[in-house]
Point group: C2
Chain length 329, copies 2
Protein backbone atom coordinates (compact mmCIF):
# COMPACT_ATOMS: atom_id res chain seq x y z
CA UNK A 1 0.00 0.00 0.00
CA UNK A 2 1.52 3.27 -1.12
CA UNK A 3 0.62 6.94 -1.05
CA UNK A 4 0.05 6.66 -4.84
CA UNK A 5 -2.81 4.20 -4.23
CA UNK A 6 -4.49 6.68 -1.91
CA UNK A 7 -4.07 9.47 -4.47
CA UNK A 8 -5.57 7.32 -7.24
CA UNK A 9 -8.50 6.25 -5.08
CA UNK A 10 -9.26 9.84 -4.01
CA UNK A 11 -8.63 11.09 -7.52
CA UNK A 12 -6.13 13.73 -6.35
CA UNK A 13 -2.37 14.24 -6.71
CA UNK A 14 0.23 12.62 -4.45
CA UNK A 15 1.17 16.08 -3.15
CA UNK A 16 -2.38 16.62 -1.90
CA UNK A 17 -2.36 13.34 0.02
CA UNK A 18 1.02 14.31 1.48
CA UNK A 19 -0.35 17.70 2.60
CA UNK A 20 -3.29 15.99 4.31
CA UNK A 21 -1.02 13.46 6.03
CA UNK A 22 1.48 16.05 7.17
CA UNK A 23 -1.17 18.61 8.09
CA UNK A 24 0.55 21.44 6.23
CA UNK A 25 -0.19 23.53 3.13
CA UNK A 26 -3.69 24.37 1.86
CA UNK A 27 -6.22 21.62 1.20
CA UNK A 28 -9.95 22.39 0.84
CA UNK A 29 -12.28 20.69 3.32
CA UNK A 30 -13.95 18.77 0.53
CA UNK A 31 -10.65 17.42 -0.81
CA UNK A 32 -9.46 16.59 2.69
CA UNK A 33 -12.59 14.53 3.28
CA UNK A 34 -12.07 12.68 0.02
CA UNK A 35 -8.48 11.85 0.95
CA UNK A 36 -9.40 10.80 4.50
CA UNK A 37 -12.14 8.56 3.12
CA UNK A 38 -9.66 6.89 0.75
CA UNK A 39 -7.19 6.39 3.62
CA UNK A 40 -9.91 4.74 5.71
CA UNK A 41 -11.18 2.54 2.90
CA UNK A 42 -7.71 1.38 1.91
CA UNK A 43 -6.63 1.03 5.59
CA UNK A 44 -3.53 2.92 4.57
CA UNK A 45 -0.78 3.24 7.23
CA UNK A 46 1.79 5.91 6.41
CA UNK A 47 5.37 4.69 6.27
CA UNK A 48 6.93 6.36 9.28
CA UNK A 49 10.33 6.35 7.62
CA UNK A 50 9.02 8.48 4.77
CA UNK A 51 7.28 10.82 7.22
CA UNK A 52 10.43 11.11 9.29
CA UNK A 53 12.48 11.99 6.26
CA UNK A 54 9.93 14.59 5.22
CA UNK A 55 9.90 16.23 8.66
CA UNK A 56 13.55 15.39 9.34
CA UNK A 57 12.43 14.16 12.75
CA UNK A 58 12.41 10.74 14.34
CA UNK A 59 10.64 11.59 17.64
CA UNK A 60 13.25 9.37 19.24
CA UNK A 61 15.71 10.28 22.01
CA UNK A 62 18.86 8.29 22.72
CA UNK A 63 19.38 7.65 26.43
CA UNK A 64 23.05 6.81 27.02
CA UNK A 65 23.82 5.10 30.34
CA UNK A 66 26.63 2.86 31.55
CA UNK A 67 24.43 -0.08 32.59
CA UNK A 68 20.64 -0.30 32.55
CA UNK A 69 20.47 -3.07 35.15
CA UNK A 70 22.09 -1.07 37.96
CA UNK A 71 19.22 0.01 40.27
CA UNK A 72 19.92 3.72 39.93
CA UNK A 73 20.15 3.73 36.13
CA UNK A 74 17.25 1.27 35.84
CA UNK A 75 15.04 3.65 37.83
CA UNK A 76 16.34 6.68 35.91
CA UNK A 77 15.72 5.20 32.46
CA UNK A 78 12.30 4.01 33.58
CA UNK A 79 11.33 7.54 34.62
CA UNK A 80 12.91 9.04 31.48
CA UNK A 81 10.92 6.68 29.27
CA UNK A 82 7.69 7.71 31.01
CA UNK A 83 8.49 11.44 30.80
CA UNK A 84 9.45 11.17 27.12
CA UNK A 85 6.35 9.12 26.27
CA UNK A 86 4.07 11.82 27.72
CA UNK A 87 5.76 14.28 25.35
CA UNK A 88 5.38 11.98 22.34
CA UNK A 89 8.98 10.77 22.19
CA UNK A 90 10.38 7.27 22.11
CA UNK A 91 13.37 6.05 24.09
CA UNK A 92 16.42 4.49 22.46
CA UNK A 93 18.32 2.67 25.20
CA UNK A 94 22.09 2.80 24.80
CA UNK A 95 24.36 1.07 27.30
CA UNK A 96 28.00 1.99 27.21
CA UNK A 97 29.32 -0.35 29.93
CA UNK A 98 32.39 1.85 29.90
CA UNK A 99 33.31 1.36 26.26
CA UNK A 100 34.40 4.62 24.68
CA UNK A 101 33.59 3.40 21.20
CA UNK A 102 29.95 2.86 22.10
CA UNK A 103 29.54 6.36 23.44
CA UNK A 104 31.04 7.78 20.24
CA UNK A 105 28.83 5.56 18.10
CA UNK A 106 25.75 6.76 19.95
CA UNK A 107 26.71 10.44 19.67
CA UNK A 108 27.10 9.89 15.97
CA UNK A 109 23.44 8.86 15.76
CA UNK A 110 22.42 12.44 16.45
CA UNK A 111 24.43 13.70 13.50
CA UNK A 112 23.02 11.05 11.22
CA UNK A 113 19.41 12.03 12.04
CA UNK A 114 18.72 8.76 13.80
CA UNK A 115 17.59 10.54 16.96
CA UNK A 116 16.32 14.06 17.68
CA UNK A 117 18.31 14.45 20.88
CA UNK A 118 20.48 12.76 23.50
CA UNK A 119 20.19 12.34 27.25
CA UNK A 120 23.47 11.03 28.61
CA UNK A 121 24.36 9.81 32.05
CA UNK A 122 27.83 8.68 31.11
CA UNK A 123 30.94 10.49 30.12
CA UNK A 124 34.04 8.71 29.04
CA UNK A 125 34.83 10.77 25.92
CA UNK A 126 36.89 13.90 25.73
CA UNK A 127 34.80 17.05 25.79
CA UNK A 128 35.75 18.10 22.29
CA UNK A 129 33.90 15.08 20.92
CA UNK A 130 30.72 16.47 22.48
CA UNK A 131 31.52 20.02 21.41
CA UNK A 132 31.68 18.78 17.80
CA UNK A 133 28.15 17.43 17.95
CA UNK A 134 25.57 19.86 16.67
CA UNK A 135 22.24 19.06 18.27
CA UNK A 136 20.30 18.88 21.51
CA UNK A 137 22.14 17.09 24.33
CA UNK A 138 21.43 17.18 28.07
CA UNK A 139 23.63 15.32 30.52
CA UNK A 140 23.16 13.93 34.03
CA UNK A 141 25.88 14.45 36.60
CA UNK A 142 28.70 15.12 34.14
CA UNK A 143 31.06 18.07 33.73
CA UNK A 144 29.74 20.64 31.21
CA UNK A 145 30.05 18.78 27.90
CA UNK A 146 30.11 21.92 25.76
CA UNK A 147 29.22 25.60 25.88
CA UNK A 148 25.58 24.88 25.11
CA UNK A 149 24.94 21.60 26.92
CA UNK A 150 22.91 21.80 30.13
CA UNK A 151 23.64 19.47 33.05
CA UNK A 152 21.08 18.08 35.50
CA UNK A 153 22.57 17.20 38.87
CA UNK A 154 21.70 17.08 42.56
CA UNK A 155 23.07 18.93 45.56
CA UNK A 156 25.92 16.47 46.14
CA UNK A 157 27.73 18.82 48.55
CA UNK A 158 24.83 18.86 50.98
CA UNK A 159 24.39 15.10 50.50
CA UNK A 160 28.01 14.40 51.44
CA UNK A 161 27.90 16.73 54.43
CA UNK A 162 24.63 15.30 55.80
CA UNK A 163 25.90 11.73 55.39
CA UNK A 164 29.04 12.64 57.37
CA UNK A 165 26.96 14.33 60.07
CA UNK A 166 24.70 11.26 60.40
CA UNK A 167 27.75 9.02 60.91
CA UNK A 168 29.41 11.45 63.34
CA UNK A 169 26.22 11.81 65.40
CA UNK A 170 26.08 8.00 65.54
CA UNK A 171 29.50 8.08 67.19
CA UNK A 172 31.72 7.17 64.21
CA UNK A 173 35.43 8.03 64.51
CA UNK A 174 36.88 6.07 61.59
CA UNK A 175 34.88 5.94 58.37
CA UNK A 176 35.30 4.79 54.76
CA UNK A 177 33.67 6.29 51.74
CA UNK A 178 33.42 4.29 48.52
CA UNK A 179 34.17 6.60 45.62
CA UNK A 180 35.05 6.77 41.96
CA UNK A 181 38.40 7.99 40.79
CA UNK A 182 37.16 11.03 38.86
CA UNK A 183 38.24 14.58 38.17
CA UNK A 184 36.88 17.39 40.29
CA UNK A 185 34.87 18.67 37.32
CA UNK A 186 32.25 15.94 37.96
CA UNK A 187 29.39 17.26 40.11
CA UNK A 188 29.50 14.24 42.45
CA UNK A 189 33.14 14.98 43.29
CA UNK A 190 31.63 17.62 45.60
CA UNK A 191 29.87 14.88 47.56
CA UNK A 192 33.13 13.08 48.28
CA UNK A 193 34.94 16.33 49.15
CA UNK A 194 32.24 17.57 51.53
CA UNK A 195 31.97 14.16 53.19
CA UNK A 196 35.72 13.95 53.81
CA UNK A 197 35.95 17.57 54.95
CA UNK A 198 33.10 17.21 57.46
CA UNK A 199 34.55 13.99 58.92
CA UNK A 200 38.07 15.49 59.20
CA UNK A 201 36.86 18.75 60.73
CA UNK A 202 35.28 16.68 63.49
CA UNK A 203 38.69 15.14 64.21
CA UNK A 204 37.70 11.71 62.87
CA UNK A 205 39.47 9.61 60.23
CA UNK A 206 38.15 9.39 56.66
CA UNK A 207 39.45 6.66 54.35
CA UNK A 208 38.74 6.80 50.63
CA UNK A 209 38.14 3.45 48.99
CA UNK A 210 38.60 4.06 45.26
CA UNK A 211 36.41 1.91 43.01
CA UNK A 212 36.99 1.18 39.36
CA UNK A 213 34.52 3.16 37.27
CA UNK A 214 31.64 1.56 35.38
CA UNK A 215 31.74 -1.79 37.15
CA UNK A 216 28.29 -2.94 38.22
CA UNK A 217 28.39 -6.70 38.67
CA UNK A 218 27.53 -8.39 41.95
CA UNK A 219 30.94 -10.07 41.93
CA UNK A 220 32.58 -6.68 41.71
CA UNK A 221 30.69 -5.37 44.75
CA UNK A 222 31.35 -8.56 46.74
CA UNK A 223 35.04 -8.22 45.97
CA UNK A 224 35.52 -4.53 46.82
CA UNK A 225 33.52 -4.79 50.03
CA UNK A 226 35.57 -7.79 51.17
CA UNK A 227 38.76 -5.97 50.23
CA UNK A 228 37.65 -2.84 52.08
CA UNK A 229 36.98 -4.71 55.34
CA UNK A 230 40.37 -6.40 55.02
CA UNK A 231 42.18 -3.11 54.47
CA UNK A 232 40.27 -1.23 57.18
CA UNK A 233 39.16 -3.83 59.75
CA UNK A 234 38.49 -1.18 62.41
CA UNK A 235 36.09 1.11 60.53
CA UNK A 236 32.93 2.04 62.39
CA UNK A 237 31.15 3.85 59.54
CA UNK A 238 30.58 3.41 55.81
CA UNK A 239 29.28 5.76 53.11
CA UNK A 240 28.60 4.65 49.53
CA UNK A 241 25.94 4.42 46.84
CA UNK A 242 23.16 1.85 47.33
CA UNK A 243 25.03 -1.13 45.89
CA UNK A 244 28.29 -0.85 47.89
CA UNK A 245 26.24 0.16 50.97
CA UNK A 246 23.96 -2.91 50.66
CA UNK A 247 26.89 -5.25 50.05
CA UNK A 248 28.75 -3.71 53.03
CA UNK A 249 25.73 -4.38 55.23
CA UNK A 250 25.53 -7.97 53.98
CA UNK A 251 29.26 -8.54 54.52
CA UNK A 252 29.22 -6.97 57.99
CA UNK A 253 26.32 -9.18 59.10
CA UNK A 254 28.07 -12.24 57.64
CA UNK A 255 31.18 -11.32 59.69
CA UNK A 256 29.03 -11.20 62.82
CA UNK A 257 29.22 -7.41 63.23
CA UNK A 258 26.25 -5.74 64.87
CA UNK A 259 24.67 -2.94 62.86
CA UNK A 260 24.44 -0.15 63.96
CA UNK A 261 26.27 -0.91 67.26
CA UNK A 262 29.59 -1.97 65.68
CA UNK A 263 29.15 -0.43 62.24
CA UNK A 264 27.00 2.43 60.92
CA UNK A 265 26.09 2.72 57.23
CA UNK A 266 24.68 5.59 55.16
CA UNK A 267 23.88 5.05 51.50
CA UNK A 268 23.51 7.51 48.65
CA UNK A 269 20.83 7.17 45.89
CA UNK A 270 17.81 5.68 47.65
CA UNK A 271 16.66 3.25 44.97
CA UNK A 272 14.17 0.43 45.68
CA UNK A 273 17.15 -1.71 46.71
CA UNK A 274 17.24 0.23 49.99
CA UNK A 275 13.62 -0.58 50.75
CA UNK A 276 14.00 -4.30 50.13
CA UNK A 277 16.61 -4.72 52.84
CA UNK A 278 16.53 -5.34 56.60
CA UNK A 279 17.83 -3.62 58.65
CA UNK A 280 16.64 -0.69 56.56
CA UNK A 281 19.44 1.57 55.35
CA UNK A 282 19.73 5.22 56.32
CA UNK A 283 20.14 7.04 53.04
CA UNK A 284 20.59 10.30 51.20
CA UNK A 285 17.96 10.06 48.51
CA UNK A 286 18.20 11.46 44.97
CA UNK A 287 14.88 12.62 43.47
CA UNK A 288 15.12 10.23 40.51
CA UNK A 289 11.76 11.14 38.97
CA UNK A 290 12.51 14.88 39.16
CA UNK A 291 15.96 14.31 37.66
CA UNK A 292 14.41 12.46 34.72
CA UNK A 293 11.72 15.11 34.22
CA UNK A 294 14.18 18.01 34.40
CA UNK A 295 16.43 16.37 31.81
CA UNK A 296 13.53 15.62 29.47
CA UNK A 297 12.09 19.14 29.84
CA UNK A 298 15.43 20.78 29.07
CA UNK A 299 16.02 18.56 26.06
CA UNK A 300 12.59 19.18 24.58
CA UNK A 301 13.08 22.94 24.96
CA UNK A 302 16.28 22.61 22.97
CA UNK A 303 14.66 20.45 20.28
CA UNK A 304 11.99 23.13 19.88
CA UNK A 305 14.73 25.71 19.43
CA UNK A 306 14.18 27.36 22.80
CA UNK A 307 17.04 28.16 25.14
CA UNK A 308 17.61 25.77 28.05
CA UNK A 309 16.37 27.17 31.36
CA UNK A 310 19.75 26.93 33.04
CA UNK A 311 23.20 25.61 32.22
CA UNK A 312 23.02 23.64 35.47
CA UNK A 313 19.91 22.41 37.26
CA UNK A 314 20.74 21.28 40.78
CA UNK A 315 17.98 19.38 42.57
CA UNK A 316 17.77 18.89 46.36
CA UNK A 317 18.46 15.58 48.11
CA UNK A 318 16.47 14.27 51.09
CA UNK A 319 17.40 12.15 54.12
CA UNK A 320 15.71 8.87 55.02
CA UNK A 321 16.52 7.68 58.52
CA UNK A 322 16.78 3.89 58.59
CA UNK A 323 18.16 1.38 61.07
CA UNK A 324 21.85 1.54 60.12
CA UNK A 325 22.57 4.77 62.03
CA UNK A 326 21.88 5.60 65.65
CA UNK A 327 20.70 9.16 65.26
CA UNK A 328 17.15 9.93 66.31
CA UNK A 329 15.88 13.05 64.62
CA UNK B 1 25.39 18.91 3.24
CA UNK B 2 23.51 16.81 0.77
CA UNK B 3 24.16 13.89 -1.53
CA UNK B 4 23.91 16.38 -4.43
CA UNK B 5 26.97 18.23 -3.11
CA UNK B 6 28.95 15.00 -3.10
CA UNK B 7 27.81 14.22 -6.67
CA UNK B 8 28.82 17.68 -7.89
CA UNK B 9 32.21 17.51 -6.16
CA UNK B 10 32.94 14.04 -7.61
CA UNK B 11 31.50 15.05 -10.96
CA UNK B 12 29.15 12.05 -11.07
CA UNK B 13 25.40 11.56 -10.85
CA UNK B 14 23.44 11.33 -7.59
CA UNK B 15 22.60 7.71 -8.41
CA UNK B 16 26.28 6.82 -8.52
CA UNK B 17 26.88 8.34 -5.07
CA UNK B 18 23.85 6.45 -3.79
CA UNK B 19 25.20 3.17 -5.20
CA UNK B 20 28.54 3.75 -3.48
CA UNK B 21 26.84 4.61 -0.16
CA UNK B 22 24.47 1.68 -0.29
CA UNK B 23 27.09 -0.72 -1.64
CA UNK B 24 24.84 -2.05 -4.39
CA UNK B 25 24.79 -1.83 -8.18
CA UNK B 26 27.85 -1.51 -10.40
CA UNK B 27 30.37 1.29 -9.84
CA UNK B 28 33.88 1.15 -11.33
CA UNK B 29 36.80 1.23 -8.90
CA UNK B 30 37.94 4.56 -10.31
CA UNK B 31 34.51 6.18 -9.85
CA UNK B 32 34.16 4.69 -6.38
CA UNK B 33 37.48 6.26 -5.37
CA UNK B 34 36.37 9.65 -6.71
CA UNK B 35 33.12 9.47 -4.74
CA UNK B 36 34.84 8.30 -1.55
CA UNK B 37 37.37 11.13 -1.88
CA UNK B 38 34.53 13.68 -2.23
CA UNK B 39 32.79 12.19 0.83
CA UNK B 40 35.99 12.51 2.84
CA UNK B 41 36.76 16.04 1.70
CA UNK B 42 33.24 17.31 2.32
CA UNK B 43 33.01 15.34 5.61
CA UNK B 44 29.64 14.16 4.35
CA UNK B 45 27.52 12.13 6.81
CA UNK B 46 24.66 10.25 5.17
CA UNK B 47 21.21 11.04 6.53
CA UNK B 48 20.18 7.83 8.19
CA UNK B 49 16.52 8.57 7.63
CA UNK B 50 17.05 8.63 3.88
CA UNK B 51 19.11 5.45 4.06
CA UNK B 52 16.45 3.74 6.15
CA UNK B 53 13.76 4.69 3.68
CA UNK B 54 15.87 3.37 0.82
CA UNK B 55 16.50 0.04 2.54
CA UNK B 56 13.14 0.06 4.34
CA UNK B 57 15.06 -0.88 7.51
CA UNK B 58 15.66 0.95 10.76
CA UNK B 59 17.99 -1.54 12.47
CA UNK B 60 15.92 -0.87 15.56
CA UNK B 61 14.05 -3.38 17.72
CA UNK B 62 11.25 -2.41 20.09
CA UNK B 63 11.57 -4.10 23.49
CA UNK B 64 8.18 -4.01 25.21
CA UNK B 65 8.22 -4.61 28.97
CA UNK B 66 5.87 -3.71 31.82
CA UNK B 67 8.45 -1.78 33.88
CA UNK B 68 12.15 -1.33 33.19
CA UNK B 69 13.05 -0.59 36.82
CA UNK B 70 11.91 -3.96 38.19
CA UNK B 71 15.12 -5.98 38.79
CA UNK B 72 14.12 -8.84 36.48
CA UNK B 73 13.09 -6.65 33.55
CA UNK B 74 16.04 -4.29 34.16
CA UNK B 75 18.44 -7.23 33.88
CA UNK B 76 16.58 -8.64 30.88
CA UNK B 77 16.57 -5.40 28.90
CA UNK B 78 20.21 -4.85 29.77
CA UNK B 79 21.13 -8.26 28.31
CA UNK B 80 18.84 -7.74 25.30
CA UNK B 81 20.49 -4.39 24.53
CA UNK B 82 23.94 -6.03 24.62
CA UNK B 83 22.84 -8.98 22.45
CA UNK B 84 21.15 -6.67 19.92
CA UNK B 85 24.14 -4.30 19.80
CA UNK B 86 26.48 -7.17 18.88
CA UNK B 87 24.17 -7.90 15.93
CA UNK B 88 24.08 -4.25 14.83
CA UNK B 89 20.62 -3.44 16.17
CA UNK B 90 19.47 -0.65 18.44
CA UNK B 91 17.05 -1.03 21.34
CA UNK B 92 13.85 0.98 21.61
CA UNK B 93 12.68 0.72 25.21
CA UNK B 94 8.91 0.59 25.59
CA UNK B 95 7.34 0.36 29.05
CA UNK B 96 3.70 -0.55 29.19
CA UNK B 97 3.11 -0.40 32.96
CA UNK B 98 -0.03 -2.37 32.29
CA UNK B 99 -1.68 0.09 29.91
CA UNK B 100 -3.26 -1.69 26.98
CA UNK B 101 -3.12 1.39 24.80
CA UNK B 102 0.65 1.55 25.08
CA UNK B 103 1.11 -2.03 23.99
CA UNK B 104 -1.12 -1.41 20.97
CA UNK B 105 0.74 1.79 20.13
CA UNK B 106 4.05 -0.05 20.23
CA UNK B 107 2.81 -2.92 18.08
CA UNK B 108 1.69 -0.35 15.57
CA UNK B 109 5.29 0.88 15.24
CA UNK B 110 6.19 -2.35 13.49
CA UNK B 111 3.54 -1.78 10.86
CA UNK B 112 4.59 1.79 10.32
CA UNK B 113 8.20 0.78 9.63
CA UNK B 114 9.49 2.43 12.77
CA UNK B 115 11.13 -0.78 13.98
CA UNK B 116 12.30 -3.95 12.25
CA UNK B 117 10.99 -6.28 14.93
CA UNK B 118 9.55 -6.59 18.43
CA UNK B 119 10.63 -8.44 21.56
CA UNK B 120 7.82 -8.39 24.07
CA UNK B 121 7.76 -9.46 27.70
CA UNK B 122 4.24 -8.25 28.31
CA UNK B 123 0.87 -9.36 27.12
CA UNK B 124 -2.29 -7.50 27.95
CA UNK B 125 -3.82 -7.41 24.46
CA UNK B 126 -6.08 -9.98 22.91
CA UNK B 127 -4.25 -12.41 20.67
CA UNK B 128 -5.97 -11.27 17.51
CA UNK B 129 -4.26 -7.90 17.82
CA UNK B 130 -0.94 -9.71 17.58
CA UNK B 131 -2.17 -12.01 14.85
CA UNK B 132 -2.98 -8.91 12.76
CA UNK B 133 0.58 -7.67 12.94
CA UNK B 134 2.67 -8.70 9.99
CA UNK B 135 6.30 -8.76 11.02
CA UNK B 136 8.87 -10.37 13.25
CA UNK B 137 7.80 -10.70 16.91
CA UNK B 138 9.26 -12.90 19.65
CA UNK B 139 7.75 -12.97 23.12
CA UNK B 140 9.04 -13.88 26.58
CA UNK B 141 6.87 -16.00 28.87
CA UNK B 142 3.55 -15.30 27.13
CA UNK B 143 0.97 -17.61 25.56
CA UNK B 144 1.56 -18.13 21.81
CA UNK B 145 0.71 -14.71 20.35
CA UNK B 146 -0.02 -15.99 16.87
CA UNK B 147 0.63 -18.98 14.62
CA UNK B 148 4.06 -17.68 13.68
CA UNK B 149 5.29 -16.04 16.88
CA UNK B 150 7.91 -17.96 18.87
CA UNK B 151 7.97 -17.81 22.67
CA UNK B 152 11.08 -17.96 24.88
CA UNK B 153 10.40 -19.30 28.34
CA UNK B 154 12.02 -21.32 31.15
CA UNK B 155 11.16 -24.66 32.71
CA UNK B 156 8.67 -23.21 35.19
CA UNK B 157 7.25 -26.61 36.08
CA UNK B 158 10.59 -27.89 37.36
CA UNK B 159 11.16 -24.53 39.10
CA UNK B 160 7.89 -24.77 41.01
CA UNK B 161 8.45 -28.40 41.95
CA UNK B 162 12.02 -27.81 43.18
CA UNK B 163 10.93 -24.78 45.23
CA UNK B 164 8.22 -26.88 46.89
CA UNK B 165 10.72 -29.68 47.59
CA UNK B 166 13.18 -27.24 49.18
CA UNK B 167 10.47 -25.93 51.51
CA UNK B 168 9.19 -29.44 52.35
CA UNK B 169 12.70 -30.71 53.08
CA UNK B 170 13.12 -27.71 55.41
CA UNK B 171 10.13 -28.95 57.38
CA UNK B 172 7.39 -26.65 56.01
CA UNK B 173 3.79 -27.78 56.52
CA UNK B 174 1.89 -24.59 55.67
CA UNK B 175 3.19 -22.45 52.82
CA UNK B 176 2.10 -19.45 50.73
CA UNK B 177 2.94 -18.77 47.14
CA UNK B 178 2.66 -15.27 45.73
CA UNK B 179 1.18 -15.51 42.26
CA UNK B 180 -0.46 -13.57 39.46
CA UNK B 181 -4.05 -14.11 38.55
CA UNK B 182 -3.46 -15.35 34.99
CA UNK B 183 -4.87 -17.89 32.60
CA UNK B 184 -3.30 -21.30 32.32
CA UNK B 185 -2.04 -20.44 28.84
CA UNK B 186 0.82 -18.44 30.39
CA UNK B 187 3.98 -20.58 30.71
CA UNK B 188 4.56 -19.51 34.33
CA UNK B 189 1.14 -20.86 35.31
CA UNK B 190 2.90 -24.23 35.28
CA UNK B 191 5.22 -23.04 38.06
CA UNK B 192 2.30 -22.22 40.35
CA UNK B 193 0.51 -25.46 39.51
CA UNK B 194 3.55 -27.69 40.10
CA UNK B 195 4.37 -25.88 43.34
CA UNK B 196 0.88 -26.34 44.72
CA UNK B 197 0.65 -29.95 43.54
CA UNK B 198 3.98 -30.92 45.15
CA UNK B 199 3.07 -29.29 48.46
CA UNK B 200 -0.39 -30.91 48.56
CA UNK B 201 0.89 -34.34 47.59
CA UNK B 202 3.15 -34.20 50.65
CA UNK B 203 0.07 -33.58 52.82
CA UNK B 204 0.99 -29.95 53.57
CA UNK B 205 -1.16 -26.82 53.09
CA UNK B 206 -0.59 -24.47 50.14
CA UNK B 207 -2.17 -21.00 50.20
CA UNK B 208 -2.28 -18.91 47.03
CA UNK B 209 -1.80 -15.18 47.56
CA UNK B 210 -3.07 -13.54 44.39
CA UNK B 211 -1.22 -10.33 43.41
CA UNK B 212 -2.51 -7.65 41.07
CA UNK B 213 -0.67 -7.86 37.76
CA UNK B 214 1.86 -5.28 36.61
CA UNK B 215 2.34 -3.59 39.98
CA UNK B 216 6.01 -3.03 40.79
CA UNK B 217 6.27 -0.27 43.37
CA UNK B 218 7.89 -0.73 46.76
CA UNK B 219 4.65 0.40 48.42
CA UNK B 220 2.79 -2.35 46.62
CA UNK B 221 5.17 -5.05 47.85
CA UNK B 222 5.18 -3.67 51.41
CA UNK B 223 1.40 -3.74 51.37
CA UNK B 224 0.85 -7.26 49.98
CA UNK B 225 3.49 -8.80 52.25
CA UNK B 226 1.94 -7.17 55.33
CA UNK B 227 -1.49 -8.32 54.19
CA UNK B 228 -0.24 -11.85 53.57
CA UNK B 229 1.22 -12.20 57.09
CA UNK B 230 -2.03 -10.86 58.52
CA UNK B 231 -4.12 -13.34 56.54
CA UNK B 232 -1.83 -16.31 57.18
CA UNK B 233 -0.04 -15.63 60.47
CA UNK B 234 1.01 -19.26 60.88
CA UNK B 235 2.77 -19.89 57.57
CA UNK B 236 6.18 -21.51 57.84
CA UNK B 237 7.21 -21.19 54.17
CA UNK B 238 7.02 -18.61 51.37
CA UNK B 239 7.57 -18.84 47.61
CA UNK B 240 7.54 -15.81 45.31
CA UNK B 241 9.60 -13.86 42.78
CA UNK B 242 12.59 -11.88 44.09
CA UNK B 243 10.67 -8.75 45.10
CA UNK B 244 7.88 -10.37 47.18
CA UNK B 245 10.45 -12.84 48.57
CA UNK B 246 12.81 -10.02 49.65
CA UNK B 247 9.99 -7.98 51.15
CA UNK B 248 8.70 -11.08 52.98
CA UNK B 249 12.15 -11.62 54.46
CA UNK B 250 12.33 -7.98 55.54
CA UNK B 251 8.86 -8.08 57.07
CA UNK B 252 9.51 -11.38 58.86
CA UNK B 253 12.73 -10.03 60.41
CA UNK B 254 10.93 -6.82 61.44
CA UNK B 255 8.26 -8.96 63.14
CA UNK B 256 10.98 -10.75 65.09
CA UNK B 257 10.63 -14.05 63.23
CA UNK B 258 13.78 -16.17 62.92
CA UNK B 259 14.71 -17.16 59.37
CA UNK B 260 14.95 -20.06 58.58
CA UNK B 261 13.91 -21.48 61.99
CA UNK B 262 10.40 -19.93 62.07
CA UNK B 263 10.02 -19.15 58.37
CA UNK B 264 11.65 -20.55 55.23
CA UNK B 265 11.73 -18.58 51.96
CA UNK B 266 12.49 -19.59 48.36
CA UNK B 267 12.55 -16.95 45.65
CA UNK B 268 12.15 -17.25 41.90
CA UNK B 269 14.20 -15.17 39.37
CA UNK B 270 17.65 -14.80 40.97
CA UNK B 271 18.37 -11.17 40.06
CA UNK B 272 21.11 -9.15 41.76
CA UNK B 273 18.58 -8.23 44.45
CA UNK B 274 19.03 -11.73 45.89
CA UNK B 275 22.76 -11.26 46.18
CA UNK B 276 22.54 -7.92 47.96
CA UNK B 277 20.57 -9.35 50.88
CA UNK B 278 21.49 -11.02 54.17
CA UNK B 279 20.51 -13.68 55.07
CA UNK B 280 21.04 -14.76 51.46
CA UNK B 281 17.91 -16.09 49.78
CA UNK B 282 17.58 -19.62 48.47
CA UNK B 283 16.37 -19.20 44.90
CA UNK B 284 15.34 -20.81 41.65
CA UNK B 285 17.36 -18.85 39.13
CA UNK B 286 16.29 -17.94 35.59
CA UNK B 287 19.15 -17.77 33.05
CA UNK B 288 18.47 -14.12 32.16
CA UNK B 289 21.37 -13.73 29.73
CA UNK B 290 20.42 -16.92 27.86
CA UNK B 291 16.78 -15.83 27.72
CA UNK B 292 17.81 -12.51 26.16
CA UNK B 293 20.14 -14.18 23.67
CA UNK B 294 17.58 -16.78 22.62
CA UNK B 295 14.97 -14.08 22.02
CA UNK B 296 17.36 -11.93 20.00
CA UNK B 297 18.61 -14.89 17.94
CA UNK B 298 15.07 -15.99 17.08
CA UNK B 299 14.03 -12.47 16.13
CA UNK B 300 17.01 -11.87 13.88
CA UNK B 301 16.38 -15.16 12.09
CA UNK B 302 12.86 -13.95 11.40
CA UNK B 303 14.03 -10.52 10.20
CA UNK B 304 16.37 -12.27 7.78
CA UNK B 305 13.41 -14.27 6.49
CA UNK B 306 14.55 -17.55 8.04
CA UNK B 307 12.19 -19.76 10.00
CA UNK B 308 12.39 -19.58 13.80
CA UNK B 309 14.20 -22.57 15.31
CA UNK B 310 11.26 -23.58 17.49
CA UNK B 311 7.81 -22.29 18.34
CA UNK B 312 8.80 -22.55 22.01
CA UNK B 313 12.29 -22.40 23.48
CA UNK B 314 12.28 -23.61 27.09
CA UNK B 315 15.48 -22.92 29.03
CA UNK B 316 16.49 -24.72 32.24
CA UNK B 317 16.42 -23.12 35.70
CA UNK B 318 19.06 -23.67 38.40
CA UNK B 319 18.92 -23.79 42.19
CA UNK B 320 20.98 -21.54 44.48
CA UNK B 321 20.99 -22.68 48.09
CA UNK B 322 21.03 -19.67 50.40
CA UNK B 323 20.37 -19.17 54.11
CA UNK B 324 16.57 -19.01 54.04
CA UNK B 325 16.05 -22.78 53.78
CA UNK B 326 17.42 -25.52 56.01
CA UNK B 327 18.29 -28.09 53.40
CA UNK B 328 21.92 -29.06 53.12
CA UNK B 329 22.71 -30.50 49.70
Amino acid sequence: MKIQDVARKANVGVGTVSRVLNKNGYVSDKTREKVEKAIRELQYTPNELARNLYHNKTNTIAVILPDASNPFYASLVNEIEKALRVQGYKTMLCNTVGEKTNEELYLNMLQRNMVDGILTGTHTLDNWKYAEIVGPIVSFDTPPLSETTPVVTVDHGTGGRKAAELLLESGCRHVVQFRDNVFDSFPFFERHREFEKTIREAGAICENYIMERDCFTEDFYERIVEDCFRKYPDVDGIFGTDMPAAFSLKRALMMGKRVPEDLRIVSFDGTYLINSIYPTLTCVRQPIRDIAKAGVDQLIRMIKGERPVNREIKLPVTIDIGMTTMTVR
